[in-house]
Symmetry: C2
Subunit: 163 residues, 2 copies
DNA sequence: GCCTGCTAATTGACATGTCAATCAGGAGTG
DNA sequence: CACTCCTGATTGACATGTCAATTAGCAGGC
């Protein structure tokens, strides 16, 4: 698409060395954060961030249960990813799947008592790790800027989805 | 949380709802960016970002070869991850491993002509995607702030490594 | 020469993720 | 009802990553 020219840099050019360096710092740091948080949580609660996201959504849900597709939409996962992950979580006794009453094709995902317990136990360590690794590293202005940057990137990505 | 806080927030407290929202936006957006870039590159060049990182390091190396451990240090990977990845890349003909002349334990990783070719072909699409998904989404001030945020997070993480 | 311990790298088992294919049950149309 | 298409969800094959164990060779002390 030939777009009206931006007032800023030309959109056709490749990134400068500076821009590239920032990109690498940004993406590698985010990756390092993710991996650090994951290994911390693994030790402190035997849950991965993915487990946590699933359990969080279920905990907040009406009756502690959700249709599989609602759950997927809520946490923004592809269906097959969720299916595989639920299979693993079910084997570990964190959740249970049962046939949906209203639609025989569907599955209801239920939080088990053991899953609820694991979730409770991991909440504080999880939040503490986020503060420690992320919030404490930034000044209040940087934190605000981080939120704005994430929002801008998200909007831009979503916009490009539809084109 | 009603807190008459000093200049900085107390380090013991859990994150506020705002802080938590920013964290989630940040980490999920970074993840979305990574995945978007990966699938774009897969289509345009049949290389993953990991492949690209390995090929980039080798391309810049003296004689287009590196000791396996130097390569790992250069791109910041664990050894076993690199070993597995090199195995896959070797099967695809992108690199070649051969015994190191000076230390029989070591391996030299060489860029093959086919690997060099794949790398050349993927450079422009790669850079273009970075501009499109990342640089173009941000104002110059946001871009600068992103660099500073990444640096601050990195420093903080590294500092916590040593404690 | 023989231990002991260190370093380089690989391996195996397993967790996680993607993609394409599949299965089963609606739902609309003739 | 028969046909076709859509939707909900799972599955299998395979790519990727982590962790712990293993293989192999170097190096120092005795």
């Amino acid at each position: 698409m030939t777009k009206a020219t931006p007032h800023r840099r030309s959109r056709r050019q490749l990134p400068t060395a500076d821009e590239l360096r920032i990109w690498r710092d940004f993406i590698e740091t985010a990756e390092a954060l993710r991996s650090r948080l994951a290994s911390r949580l693994q030790v402190e609660s035997s849950l991965s961030p993915s487990d946590y996201a699933v359990l969080l959504a279920l905990s907040e849900a009406q009756d502690r249960q959700l249709r599989s597709s609602e759950l997927a939409a809520h946490i923004g996962w592809e269906r097959s990813r969720l299916s595989h992950h639920l299979g693993r979580m079910e084997r570990r006794g964190l959740i249970r799947r049962q046939e949906c009453a209203t639609d025989p094709r569907g599955a209801e995902v239920h939080l088990t008592p053991s899953g609820a317990e694991a979730f409770r136990g991991s909440t504080v360590p999880h939040l503490r790790a986020i503060r420690e690794f992320f919030v404490d590293a930034l000044t209040p202005e940087q934190l605000r800027a981080a939120g704005e940057i994430a929002a801008a990137l998200r909007v831009h990505l979503d916009a490009r989805d539809k084109e």
